[in-house]
């Protein structure tokens, strides 16, 4: 019961703030609503007993990426940005993509309705004390079963970092 209340609360906050993020005219307000959306997602992770994902979401997205976002936004001259057209000529493409996505989701819901118990993967949550320690499990699977993808991802990030440094460096 408590789980359900928490889930609907966080999900509601996430969806509402996502909508607000897109519709606000003021960029800083949009950024604040993006932060609340990310925090609500972190809350859903916590409700699913994925503590490690919860804190990684907060440290990386909220504490890292969003700080940089706001940092950049504050340097932009907002008065100029407000007068510009916020949505470019991608209206029709966006509508098409959104419709396709809605179709996919609808199809999934519809098919799951037809086969009760086989459609959506609904897991019954184990009690918290029966779960293995979360961060240790994540570490085991990252450095055990998924070592190669993990290393590839880290090399990719390293390449991106070096690329950023090279681009930011003053040309002499």
């Amino acid at each position: 019961m408590l789980d359900k209340i928490l889930f609907y609360f966080f999900a509601g906050v996430a969806v509402a703030s996502a909508v607000l993020m897109v519709t606000r005219r003021n960029v800083v307000h949009s950024a604040i609503f993006l932060i609340t959306a990310l925090l609500a997602t972190a809350g859903i992770f916590l409700q699913l007993r994925a503590e490690f994902l919860f804190i990684v979401q907060i440290i990386l997205y909220v504490g890292g990426i969003m700080v940089l976002f706001i940092f950049v936004i504050m340097l932009v001259n907002l008065d100029v940005a407000l007068q510009q057209i916020q949505f470019a000529r991608q209206k029709w493409v966006a509508l098409l993509v959104a419709l396709a996505l809605a179709g996919q989701v609808g199809l999934m819901f519809w098919s799951s309705r037809k086969m009760p118990g086989q459609g959506l993967p609904v897991l019954t949550a184990a009690a918290a004390e029966h779960l293995p320690a979360n961060s240790e499990e994540v570490a085991k699977s990252l450095f055990g079963s998924y070592l190669l993808p993990f290393e590839i991802a880290s090399v990719l990030l390293l390449v991106a970092m070096i690329g950023a440094v090279v681009m930011a460096k003053k040309r002499t």
């Binding site: 440290i59 706001i70 961060s135």
Partner: protein, 457 residues
């Protein structure tokens, strides 16, 4: 409706103790922060050969309460062109993040609000890092140049030093192999040595980075009064301003607690595993008793009757605390059969004392540095962070890892680990200085194009 009521009931039944503790912390913390401010002013006065606040109460002991009342009844000004909502939200965010991160800390083995969370130390660090939004948004919402400058400086500073602090935490966590706060302290009690000795470089890095993160002198660039009025707080007044202050002092407590837990043995007594030093158990009650005796001695010197009574009350408070601390160590001596029954009380009470004692020493170090060192320039601050601390902490992580592998190969434990970790620390320092020297030579060659930094103002 019925279900919701039932759920609330169930929730309260499960979580009443943490809720109560949380409320207690939120209620008491402003008072503690106020007294930290008083202590800071007194220490500053002492270092500058003056008396500091003396008027309100004996030796200014009631000054924090007078300050709080003043802040509460001051006029609350919101600038006309400010973004009202964000202006309102920003200080709340700052305080909220700081208070929330306290939930993960363990003051003694018994007292922890969020008991035994698996991600322990990450929770504390991650949540307290969110306080930066309060500063950045507050600076932006004030619609003032000084505020914006302060906010920009603050976010740049925090992002740079967060990396170094994180790496310092990683090298300490390599020694424990767990994120759980209780297990971290237990690992130090098992090894019989504090991690500050095993990872001195990590402790140093964390110390510097934590000063920078809490925006305190010599790294208080975001609120440098000689350049930016009051930085991001310029437009804030009255109670909102005091919320920022509360957040700053709470953050100090948080970083001091993290350092205490990771490096200074948490709630363990110094040399907890050395039996012949067990007489140190008597140090806390004796120390507090000495303070009580000093207060009684000073009573005749107080000018008015009220102040004399107040001094006596303080002495009485110290006396009661000393008694509480003395009971668990004295009882087993009088009656050895109760030793087992008293043990958890001993761990709880004395653990709390040592934890708070270490946190206070760490905060005192902060103040000492603040009144000793002049403020850095912004480019110096950035250079120190990026050219020295971050390479140092990354190299240190690598070398601590290597040292631990070597130590495991030779089956070293406890104090024996010093044989491998000390060379690692020296190597890390040497490598970092080498990198710094290279950078310096590099900078000297292209000094003509001096970096006229945007944030320097």
């Amino acid at each position: 409706m019925m279900n919701a009521l039932q759920a609330t009931n169930e929730f309260l039944r499960l979580y009443w103790a943490p809720l109560l503790c949380g409320m207690a912390v939120v209620a008491i913390l402003p008072l503690i922060a106020g007294y930290i401010v008083l202590v800071e002013r007194k220490i500053m006065a002492d270092m500058q050969a003056r008396l500091g606040p003396m008027r309100v109460g004996p030796h200014g002991l009631l000054q924090p309460i007078a300050d709080a009342v003043k802040l509460l009844i001051k006029e609350d000004i919101i600038p006309d062109n400010a973004d009202k909502l964000v202006f309102w939200l920003a200080p709340v965010l700052s305080v909220g993040a700081a208070l929330l991160s306290l939930a993960g800390l363990a003051i003694g083995p018994a007292f922890q609000i969020a008991q035994d969370i698996n991600i322990g130390i990450l929770f504390v660090v991650g949540i307290s890092a969110m306080g930066i939004f309060g500063i950045v948004l507050g600076g932006w919402a004030s619609n003032s140049h000084y505020s914006l400058m302060g906010a920009l400086r603050s976010s740049a500073q925090l992002v740079s030093y967060e990396t170094a602090a994180g790496m310092a935490l990683v090298s300490a966590l390599l020694l424990t192999g767990t994120l759980n706060i209780k297990s971290i302290v237990e690992a130090q009690s098992k090894e019989g040595i504090w991690f500050v000795l095993l990872a001195p470089v990590a402790f140093f890095t964390y110390l510097v980075a934590s000063i920078a993160e809490t925006n305190r002198a010599p790294f208080d660039l975001p609120e440098a009064e000689s350049e930016l009025v009051a930085g991001y707080m310029t437009e804030f007044s009255g109670f909102r301003w005091s919320l920022y202050f509360l957040a700053e002092y709470t953050n100090m407590i948080v970083v001091a607690s993290v350092a205490t837990t990771l490096f200074l043995g948490g709630w363990l007594r110094p040399f907890a595993s050395v039996p012949w030093l067990n007489f140190l158990d008597f140090a806390p009650p004796v120390l507090i008793m000495a303070i009580a005796a000093y207060c009684v001695l000073r009573v005749p010197k107080q000018p008015t009757r009220v102040q004399q009574l107040f001094m006596l009350a303080v002495a009485g408070l110290c006396f009661v605390t000393a008694l509480v601390l003395a009971v668990p160590v004295v009882l087993p001596i009088i009656k050895p059969s109760v030793r087992e029954a008293v043990a958890p009380f001993y761990a709880g009470i004395h653990g709390g004392f040592w934890f708070i004692f270490k946190v206070s020493v760490y905060i005192y170090l902060f103040m000492w540095l603040r009144f000793t060192l002049p403020r850095y320039r912004f480019d110096q601050l950035m250079r120190l962070g990026w050219h020295f601390l971050i390479p140092l902490s990354i190299i240190n992580v690598l070398l601590v890892g290597v040292a631990l592998i070597v130590g495991a190969y030779f089956h070293l434990q406890g104090w024996g680990l010093l044989l491998v970790t000390t060379p690692a620390a020296i190597l890390a320092l040497l490598a970092a200085f080498f990198i710094l020297a290279i950078e310096k030579g590099h900078d000297a060659r292209q000094d003509q194009t001096a970096t006229s930094d945007f944030y320097v103002g």
